[in-house]
């Protein structure tokens, strides 16, 4: 009886949707169901975005020995409402020499591309909007479209600093996109499918009380770390936020945007953060599966969103800890450290796959990855040897 209760609570949103849709004639039911699911996603994630902005400001404040906003509402929790009203009522300034059509379209393309990514994330048991065979490829295709929107924004502003920010942002996003894809390919190799539901199902098994999450394997841990680095760089988050650093290029590619369009860029960035964290937890952290086998009575969507929020907190934590990387440091890091390590990880994953079950593959793969990390770390941390500086003074 407890089991059926747990199962019903797990599927509560599916049951709710089916019940609401049953009021309509049978012909309209599939469409209405899809529309309802889409509306839920479109309403839920911006709501989560509002909550995240206040958590970020207060979390960063506490890390920096100060309180965050605390005047609007109890503990400042209504601050996003104030921010929203401000964004909506600010004057929408479009520079005279800007390309009006593209200037208008850029935030739209960004937000639409980011929202599309949510369609394939499995947010709970049976809770995927679209269960596709190549869901992962669809997700990355939508991620690639966001780069185009960034470029459109920077170029259409007719501002050389915006253009510079946009080119830097696109260069950064392209470099780390390769890393993102390659670290996901390791997961695909082991699972044998591009479908995200199959990937989660493969991780939803338990030996004893421990789950089969890919992060608990040596290649999964390495892959997750590389994926996390690439995800931080893809969404232009600290420490890779040079394109939008306030002290560097004013606001980079969204300098010339004000009011609602700027709010859309902000929304797009945070939503991209959510969807990439969601994908990361799906690929490496087991998606909606519980961390221990005795915790399976907790609904699956609670696990998914907990992992999502945990990733967001880690993003905020990293933002409060690390200084910004310079553009050339960032690109060097991508091409000279992260990418070779990810390719090596791919080879180790292949070795894992073909070594067969047993303790030997754990030892061999861990040793190989640790050795590779150590060697690469040693090579990349070698400092240039500077000679003592000599000065000549004017006579």
């Amino acid at each position: 009886m407890f089991d059926t209760l747990a199962r019903n609570f797990d599927q509560i949103f599916i049951l709710l949707r089916d019940w609401l849709v049953s009021f309509l004639p049978a012909g309209m039911r599939p469409v209405a169901g899809i529309v309802l699911s889409v509306a839920t996603i479109v309403a839920l994630f911006p709501g989560l975005f509002a909550l995240t902005t206040i958590f970020e400001r207060k979390g960063l404040g506490r890390i920096q020995n100060r309180i965050g906003p605390n005047r609007v509402g109890p503990f400042g929790l209504l601050q996003p409402v104030a921010d929203g009203i401000k964004s909506l009522t600010k004057e929408d300034i479009v520079p005279v020499s800007a390309n009006a059509a593209i200037h208008f379209l850029a935030p739209l393309v960004l937000v639409v591309a980011v929202f599309m990514g949510f369609a394939v994330l499995p947010m709970g048991r049976n809770m995927v909007l679209v269960d596709m065979d190549c869901a992962l490829l669809f997700y990355f295709a939508m991620g690639a479209s966001t780069e185009l929107a960034v470029f459109m924004a920077g170029w259409s502003s007719r501002n050389k600093y915006s253009l510079l920010g946009a080119m830097r942002a696109v260069a950064q996003m392209i470099s780390y996109e390769v890393v993102l894809l390659l670290s996901s390919v390791a997961v695909v190799m082991i699972t044998g499918s591009l479908s995200l539901t199959k990937i989660v199902a493969a991780q939803d098994q338990y030996t004893g009380i421990f789950p089969h999450w890919y992060i608990f394997t040596p290649w999964g841990l390495a892959g997750f770390v590389m994926y996390a680095i690439a995800a931080t760089a893809e969404t232009n988050r600290s420490p890779f936020d040079l394109p939008e650093g306030e002290s560097e290029l004013v606001a980079g590619y969204h300098t010339e945007y004000s009011g609602f369009k700027f709010a859309l860029f902000f929304l797009g960035e945070y939503l991209a953060m959510f969807s990439i964290s969601g994908l990361g937890s799906t690929l490496f952290l087991g998606g909606w599966s519980a961390p221990f086998s005795f915790l399976q009575w907790v609904p699956s969507w609670i696990w998914f969103f907990s992992k999502l929020m945990l990733s967001i907190f880690v993003f905020i934590w990293m933002r409060g800890t690390l200084p910004r990387l310079r553009q050339d440091q960032l690109m060097n890091f991508a091409w000279k450290f992260v990418l070779p390590f990810t390719i090596f990880n791919l080879m180790v994953t292949a070795l894992w796959r073909f070594m067969g079950e047993g303790w030997l593959r754990w030892v061999v793969c861990s040793a190989l990855l640790a050795a590779a990390y150590g060697i690469m770390a040693r090579v990349s941390m070698r400092r240039e040897h500077f000679e003592p500086r000599s000065y000549r003074y004017a006579e």
Partner: protein, 166 residues
């Protein structure tokens, strides 16, 4: 021939036409991106999911950006001084129409030579992977070598420029 197909075809053709008509080169690149998107939608309409999404990922995510970067880093971003149409535009139009007529006739003639398939063959990603690694592994490896050569060439060209600048 559903209305969706007509819409997507209009998007593709419109994008391609706009790409050759507009003055500003970056506008042309963005119109070309719309044409790519139309192509991807056509693939998806034929249930070729892998091809469609790979089209978006590769063409819109990489090729379009490459085109735009190339335009910005060379002098193509300056607005042209005179007209974009060359003096031989009429003969060019005639040649293009002739080529299109030949291709169209060839396609329509070959339509009745294909086997009459009742259902669209479903090729999921697994089948594509098996085919790539099995039957078509040689073209795949040749493509890989070609891409590697292109990358090395690009690096060498950029390297030489840096040494020249010194």
């Amino acid at each position: 021939m559903s209305p969706v197909f007509y819409l997507v075809a209009a998007l593709t053709l419109g994008g391609a036409l706009t790409a050759v008509v507009l003055k500003n080169t970056v506008h042309c690149a963005l119109a070309l991106t719309a044409a790519f998107a139309g192509l991807a939608l056509l693939f998806l309409g034929l249930d070729a999911q892998f091809a469609g999404f790979a089209q978006i990922l590769v063409y819109i995510g990489a090729v379009a950006i490459l085109v735009v970067f190339a335009i910005l880093l060379t002098r193509g971003s300056e607005t042209p001084q005179g007209s974009v149409y060359s003096r031989y535009s009429i003969s060019g139009l005639v040649a293009a129409a002739a080529v299109f007529a030949v291709l169209g006739w060839a396609v329509l003639q070959s339509a009745h030579m294909l086997p009459n398939e009742q259902a669209v063959p479903m090729a999921d990603v697994h089948d594509i992977g098996v085919a790539l690694m099995g039957r078509y592994v040689l073209p795949l490896e040749i493509l890989a070598v070609l891409l590697t050569a292109a990358t090395i060439g690009a690096v060498i060209v950029a390297l030489h420029e840096k040494e020249d600048a010194k």
